[in-house]
């Protein structure tokens, strides 16, 4: 076996090596050391609202099924028949209490127990069905967000989320009922490049004025505002390190008028429904909290390793291989608001996001350009030092810098390095002795 890469040496405090994006060995290690060790975002509770609902998901590159059982419990089961390995569920979503593997007919409940084995007489007396339950992930739910972990020792989800919880709360509290609904469909796009490009970009406050100039200029003209000012040196917006690799572009400080939807994206609502909406918020949360909630209604939040909460959407970054990434954008609607508000949210989202949007495809184009550019050898490093000298401790105790600084990327890669270099015992069950001896 070739000498293993020293992953720690690929990520320094202010720069990262191109091999973290291009090397298949790094990708394989990321799947084991990050995606199999921490909490991975898989969806939202409302996507499996009724008992029997299910949705197929991924944990890194591994196929899984998020299910809702008859008692309301949520499970994440690996989509792999315990007989000889076929996937047991082929649909993207549906409703069923049982999953039958159609290779030889083994049947499982939506909790993962094996309940049916055809012609059981063929199995010996030592054969026990209960030993063949589907492999399952640990499930952590926070404010409706569903995370899965293949690591039985993983810290509690609330501990993992660290300061990101405060911003997730704000996002959910935009609903006067404190709940969002994620059943308005999903935008799906992808690119032939590494997954980390998308994670970096979701909290990159340096790029908008260049990548999105065409969008901002047109919207700015309509609104009579200079949208691009928000991302210049004059901006009072901040970037923040929220711990454990999570980060945010915090656009609350400069916001003057509090609008229920992000006006930059042209989600316009009538005064009447805006009034009803704000009254309901105030009734539930009081004046002060309402203004805090609306002030934070335009977020770019990254939750390590694969979730971005941007605008109205949950963005699930799905690594396929070192050079391929799929991205699922699930917009949310708010419970307890006039319909018009939710329609405006959807239209605002569409204007910028999705494969045909006026913004996101231009980001993706940059990931493609980086992927091609990084084929150049001899120029080995990517610079992430921007703003390192203006990092400071913010009022809430987090490390903050200017919105256009590369603080979020540095936060991401600190966690990346921590996890990639962590010593952990090989799970003995998944690695039989004979195989370990071979490599």
């Amino acid at each position: 076996m070739p000498l293993q890469l020293d992953f720690g040496a690929l990520v320094e405090d202010q720069r990262v090596h191109r091999r973290i994006y291009t090397d298949a060995e790094v990708f394989e290690a990321e799947m084991e050391r990050i995606f199999e060790r921490t909490w991975v975002f898989v969806g939202h509770e409302s996507e499996v609202a009724a008992s029997g609902d299910y949705k197929t998901v991924s944990i890194g590159t591994q196929p899984a099924i998020m299910t809702r059982d008859e008692d309301g419990g949520i499970h994440v089961l690996m989509n792999r028949c315990m007989h000889r390995g076929a996937t047991i569920c082929q649909e993207q979503r549906g409703n069923s209490s049982f999953f039958r593997c159609w290779y030889h007919g083994w049947t499982y409940t939506n909790r993962g127990e094996l309940v049916g084995v055809p012609y059981p007489g063929g199995y010996g007396r030592g054969f026990e069905r209960r030993k063949f339950s589907l492999k399952r992930a640990k499930v952590g739910v926070y404010r409706g967000l569903v995370f899965a972990s293949l690591n039985p020792e993983v810290p509690e989800i609330t501990e993992h989320l660290a300061r990101a919880r405060y911003y997730i709360d704000l996002f959910m509290d935009l609903s006067p009922e404190g709940e969002v609904d994620a059943r308005s469909g999903t935008h799906k796009y992808g690119y032939d490049g590494n997954w980390k490009f998308q994670m970096e970009n979701g909290v990159d406050g340096y790029h908008p004025n260049f990548v999105h100039q065409s969008f901002f200029e047109i919207q700015g003209k309509k609104l009579g505002r200079k949208v691009m000012k928000l991302f210049t040196e004059a901006s009072s917006y901040q970037s923040k390190d929220l711990g454990n690799g999570h980060s945010i572009l915090d656009m609350a400080p400069q916001r003057k008028s509090h609008r229920p939807v992000n006006n930059i994206l042209r989600g316009s609502t009538s005064d009447a429904s805006t009034k009803i909406y704000i009254e309901r918020l105030v009734r539930r949360y009081g004046e002060e909290r309402t203004s805090e909630i609306l002030g934070a209604s335009n977020v770019n939040l990254a939750v390590f390793p694969n979730l971005l909460i941007i605008g109205i959407q949950f963005r699930n970054v799905i690594p396929i291989n070192v050079n391929r990434t799929d991205v699922y954008l699930t917009p949310t609607t708010l419970k307890g608001v006039p319909d018009e508000i939710n329609t405006a949210r959807l239209r605002a989202h569409e204007a910028f996001y999705g494969s045909a949007g006026g913004g996101a495809p231009d980001d993706v184009e940059m990931f493609n350009r980086c992927t091609t550019g990084l084929r150049v050898k001899g120029a080995e490093w990517l610079e992430l030092s921007r703003g390192i000298e203006r990092e400071h401790t913010a009022d809430d105790g987090s490390i903050a810098a200017h919105i256009s600084d590369e603080l979020p990327q540095r936060a991401f890669y600190r966690q990346w390095r921590r996890m990639m270099c962590e010593k952990f015992a090989e799970a003995s069950e998944s690695r039989p002795q004979s195989v370990a001896a071979l490599d």
Partner: protein
């Protein structure tokens, strides 16, 4: 004034296809009524755009923004632009009166951008209105076969 014949419908659809394939967006815009809706559903048939996300759900003003952006030279995902060639077929006039008509058709769209070739296919649904001496597009729904799958870049007009 007569109703819309299939031959007339075909001529309009062929003309639209040729204009879009040559990216003459302003000419395309001139084919539309001011209350136009241009709809590309996502995740299936598209039942209620007010409650579900679409790939595109544009009125006249939003469409103008979209085309202005494409014309700006700074829409990076179209720099260089997609070269397309679409075949429109199976044209059926479903309903027609002297001032309105509903037409469905099928299409196959070949796309080349840089070195990458892709094929899209689906159905078009058009509603036309007779206005200013000609048939204009008042509603267009593009139902892509793959609209519930991953689509990397759909920034040209389908």
């Amino acid at each position: 004034m007569a109703t819309l014949s299939r031959q007339q419908a075909e001529e309009i659809l062929y003309e639209e296809a040729r204009i879009l394939d040559s990216r003459r967006y302003d000419e395309w815009f001139a084919m539309l009524t001011e209350d136009v809706i241009y709809w590309v559903p996502c995740n299936g048939e598209g039942t209620d755009p007010d409650r579900e996300i679409s790939l595109v759900y544009d009125d006249h003003a939003r469409l103008r923004d979209r085309l202005d952006r494409l014309n700006s030279g700074l829409a990076h995902a179209q720099n260089p632009p997609s070269k397309t060639c679409r075949l429109v077929s199976n044209v059926q006039v479903e309903q027609t009166s002297t001032d309105s008509a509903a037409v469905t058709s099928a299409f196959i769209l070949y796309e080349l951008r840089q070195t990458r070739q892709r094929i899209f296919a689906g159905r078009y649904q058009h509603r036309f209105r007779y206005q200013d001496g000609r048939w204009k597009i008042q509603w267009k729904k593009t139902l892509l076969v793959n609209n519930d799958e991953v689509i990397d870049n759909l920034t040209f007009i389908v």
